[in-house]
Amino acid sequence: MAEMNGVVVVSGLSEFEEKMKRLRTDNPGFEKRLRDVIRKIMGQARANLRKDAATGLQMESDPRHAYKAVRYAVYKRLFGGQVNILSSRRAGAETGYRPARTLTPGQRGGNRRVRNSRTLDKYEGVDRGFILRWLNNGMTKTNTRTIAFTENSNRKVDKWNKHPNTGNRGAIQARNWFGDASQKELQAVAGQMQILIDKIIKEEFV
């Protein structure tokens, strides 16, 4: 813009317009940067929640690293994400003992584990969230009242002294940890996000 001897020349508006376009959320560059920021802060939230899980859940020991089951996701279509302890997918390498399945000399049978053994091994490493959800949600007092029969079992059941598998399994107090902890973490990282986005806008505009 300049003004000389009453003549006015207007300029700089197209540049201004370009800058405005760069700041729109449908601009691929800006959109990517926003998602990057969201991914970054969700990662921070996950890390903090993992640390919190170790203490917040009051686990006496966690040899199978259940705390790692906190996960996050960033949405593709919306600007946002989530943290969860669902863990429907594999969340890291499997841990735990796996016996060698070689047959000893003279042993009959195939290379197959019984169903119970597979079940016992299953959640560890495959769905760590199971432990977290279990502790988070709690369980009521449980008695195993059913008598465990197998098809080929001919063992006589004493009606007064039940099957050895029956009995009181106790209860777990619900921690209700994840809801409050995750919201608190997201609040904390939202502040970080505000700073980061402010920075991006400055960089893009300037």
């Binding site: 813009m1 300049a2 003004e3 000389m4 001897n5 009453g6 003549v7 006015v8 020349v9 207007v10 300029s11 700089g12 508006l13 197209s14 540049e15 201004f16 317009e17 405005m20 700041l23 729109r24 959320t25 800006f30 926003l34 969201i38 969700m42 279509r77 919306l78 600007f79 946002g80 994400g81 989530q82 943290v83 969860n84 302890i85 669902l86 969230g129 959800r133 988070n136 949600n137 709690g138 619900a174 921690r175 209700n176 994840f178 809801g179 995750s182 919201q183 997201l186 609040q187 939202a190 502040g191 996000m193 505000q194 986005i197 402010d198 806008i201 400055k202 893009e204 505009f205 300037v206």
Partner: protein, 722 residues
């Protein structure tokens, strides 16, 4: 079932709509500006001539400093304009001519800088010689338009260097004043950007420019206050330590039985004065910082009515004196009134995961009375600006603590003096006169001159004869003059002379003389001669007055809203552009801030361009579609018709009887007065009232949304949980 998933969503719909709206506004303005630009195209040739002559622009300055300042200002303005041109525009005749002018201006600026540099070297030589009024000083005095006495009163060397440094940017950061100026600039820029962001968040653009100016001024004042605090603290250190040591010494002397009460009292008083300077400066800086923080946060809010000084003082006072209690009270007020004004509205579904309708809570200020609105906005500003306010309170608190320890020390000293009063005197009289530290003002300072004046007045009263009385009177007159100069109240009394030849006053006088001569003429021949002369001179006078009116109108335009914005822009531009254009090396750490300033300046210059166009059109001084014929002085007394191919608005107040003839060609249009107004309003198109929208450009709106997110997190608004 307890929560096992927590979702987070960044709401950007408001942000997008505001960005789109701003883009549309800008496009619309661009179209209008283009329309206006098309109308100006017929003056391309004239533009090129104007641009070509721009490089040889005359300065009105009478000294090197002002000349350089004007040249730099002109260069910045033209360089900004040139840089913003498209390539086509740069390659046009006009663009090339402007480029050549810029080159010429660069050369002239370099010459002016060299001139100033030579002045600086001369001044350094003076300083090293220890002579304040040497020949180089006279040279300086001439260059800066200062009289030698004025320069001496202002502290000669420092003043001269300061004046040079302000424009000689190469040395910008090598001198104390340069650093101060830079500090003020950064402080002001931070404040400006702060207001800018707050305004973006709150969407209240109605007072943006006045807020910006207030904030910038406030920040500069604050910097000065903080700088003074720092200066006092560092400069008084040695004096305070010496006095404290002296007091200790005097106490010991008193313990030995010497009579040193008077000296002890004097030293204690002097110590109190020195310490109270720091305390007062600290309290002032602290309260100013708190006030600035409150004002900036308050005035940028949507629906904020003007904040009175009384309210600001009350709030500042409450926060400083009552601390957290006051913060809590303000927070309570904000919560109470927010609850009163909060309403719910439907804002659409939450996300693809939830089909329930989201209800949004928002504050409807119209539910509050005007007083409550003000209370709410003030309380909100204080609550949200707590961090910045706390910084000011910390400065204030430190000053108060120093004041308390000072008072304690003072009480102790006084007590010590009183304990010994009337007793235990002894033989200390001779020892006590030894070395009380002299506490007289610095030579050449204002208090020094005032002391001198008092002494001179006393001595004048004691004069034994008239000659000595008169000589003292001369001294008193000179001292009074110097004090007035110091205070900036002195005005040189110039003997009235006749108006300068060529000025309007001169021409008016000439016409008057001729009129009187015409009346006094006895015969018709001499009367006709006078009449013809009178006609000619009257015509010249009319022409001059017409020009003068145009100049005044232009000045008036600059002082109008558009002008004010332009001043703001040029102030910010001079921060960002002026420094770089002169080749100054800016410290790395400050580059970021500079970038921010440039961003703000770019935004503002975009707005200002439009405002200038509209202001020019509304002024109708150069609307090219309307070709007017002009008779001299707005009347047709001479029957001459002025050619007005470049367009003109008929001056004067001749609204009937068609007194002004017009020369027109085919295709040209004459519009009536009402149509002219319509064209002007059509071109301006209410742009000024919509200006607030156009400036909503930056995505900091996201910041607002994020604020909402932060605030409403846990209420299920943006972060939902199952």
């Amino acid at each position: 079932m307890a929560d096992v998933i927590t979702r987070f969503k960044l709401e950007t719909s408001q942000y997008d709509s505001k960005i789109r709206s701003a883009s549309q506004q800008i496009s619309e303005y661009a179209k209008r500006a283009q329309l206006a630009g098309n109308e100006f195209q017929k003056f391309t040739q004239k533009n090129a001539e104007a641009a070509r002559s721009f490089g040889d622009i005359e300065t009105s300055a009478t000294n090197a400093k002002d000349r350089l300042k004007e040249l730099v200002g002109a260069y910045n303005q033209a360089a900004n304009a040139y840089n913003q041109l498209t390539k086509e525009q740069q390659q046009s005749d006009w663009g090339q001519a402007l480029s050549q002018s810029l080159e010429r201006l660069k050369v002239r600026i370099t010459e002016a800088k060299n001139e100033l540099y030579s002045v600086g070297q001369a001044e350094k030589q003076v300083a090293s010689d220890g002579s304040m009024l040497g020949s180089a000083m006279d040279q300086l005095a001439g260059k800066f338009g200062l009289s030698a006495q004025t320069a001496t009163a202002l502290g000669a060397t420092v003043a001269a260097v300061t004046l040079a440094v302000k424009v000689s940017k190469d040395a910008f950061l090598n001198y104390e004043s340069g650093i101060d100026e830079w500090g003020r600039t950064v402080q002001a820029a931070e404040s400006a950007y702060d207001v800018f962001l707050k305004t973006l968040n709150n969407g209240n653009w109605s007072n943006f420019f006045s807020n910006l100016q207030t904030a910038v001024q406030g920040a500069r004042d604050l910097y000065d206050a903080l700088d003074r605090l720092g200066s006092i603290k560092s400069n008084n250190q040695a004096a305070i330590a010496l006095l404290q040591a002296r007091i200790q010494e005097l106490r010991l002397m008193k313990q030995e039985g010497k009579d040193v009460d008077a000296e002890l009292k004097t030293a204690a008083d002097q110590l109190r004065v020195l310490q109270s300077q720091g305390v007062n400066a600290g309290m002032r800086a602290g309260s100013m910082q708190v006030g600035n923080a409150i004002r900036n946060a308050y005035s940028t809010q949507q629906g904020a009515s003007p904040l009175t000084n009384t309210m600001l003082k009350q709030a500042t006072n409450a926060l400083i004196t009552r601390g957290q209690v006051a913060f809590d009270e303000y927070a309570q007020v904000a919560r109470r009134l927010e609850a009163k004004a909060t309403e719910e509205r439907v804002a659409g579904p939450v996300s693809e995961f939830d089909v329930t309708v989201r209800k949004e809570r928002y504050v409807n200020l119209n539910k509050l009375t005007k007083t409550e609105q003000q209370q709410y906005l003030l309380a909100k500003a204080i609550t949200e600006g707590e961090t910045k306010i706390a910084e000011g309170i910390a400065v204030y608190a430190q000053a108060v603590q120093e004041g308390a320890s000072m008072a304690k020390e003072n009480v102790k000293n006084n007590k010590y003096v009183l304990q010994g009063a009337g007793g235990g005197g002894g033989t200390g009289a001779t020892a006590a006169t030894a070395s009380v530290i002299p506490f007289s003002p610095v030579q050449g300072s204002l208090p020094y001159l005032q002391n001198q004046l008092k002494a001179a007045q006393t001595l004048q009263g004691l004069s034994p004869n008239i000659a000595e009385y008169d000589s003292w009177a001369m001294v008193i007159e000179e001292l009074t003059r110097q004090i007035q100069i110091f205070k900036g109240e002195y005005k040189e009394v110039i003997a009235p002379e006749g108006p300068a030849a060529g000025s309007i006053d001169y021409q008016i006088q000439k016409v008057k003389e001729l009129t009187e001569a015409w009346r006094a003429a006895s015969d018709d021949s001499s009367r006709s001669v006078y009449a013809s002369q009178l006609k000619e001179q009257q015509a010249i006078l009319d022409q001059m007055q017409g020009k003068n009116t145009a100049v005044k109108a232009a000045e008036g335009k600059r002082n109008s809203v558009g002008g004010m914005m332009q001043q703001t822009v040029s102030a910010l531009n001079s921060i960002a552009g002026g420094v770089e254009n002169l080749g100054i090396t800016i410290p790395e750490g400050l580059n970021k801030m500079l970038g921010t300033i440039q961003a703000v300046a770019t935004i503002l210059s975009g707005i200002s361009a439009l405002v200038t166009v509209i202001a020019a059109i509304q002024g109708t001084k150069a609307v090219p579609v309307i070709g007017w014929a002009l008779s001299t002085g707005g009347s047709n007394v001479n029957g001459r018709v002025k050619r007005a191919a470049i367009g003109y608005t008929v001056p004067g107040n001749y609204m009937s009887n068609d007194q002004v003839p017009a020369m027109l060609n085919s295709g040209e249009t004459v519009l009536t007065r009402s149509q002219t107004n319509n064209v002007a309003s059509q071109l301006s198109g209410g742009a000024l009232s919509n200006l607030r929208l156009s400036a909503v450009i930056e995505g900091t709106q996201i910041r607002m949304v994020l604020n909402n997110t932060t605030r409403q997190m846990g209420k299920g608004t943006y972060v939902t949980s199952r």
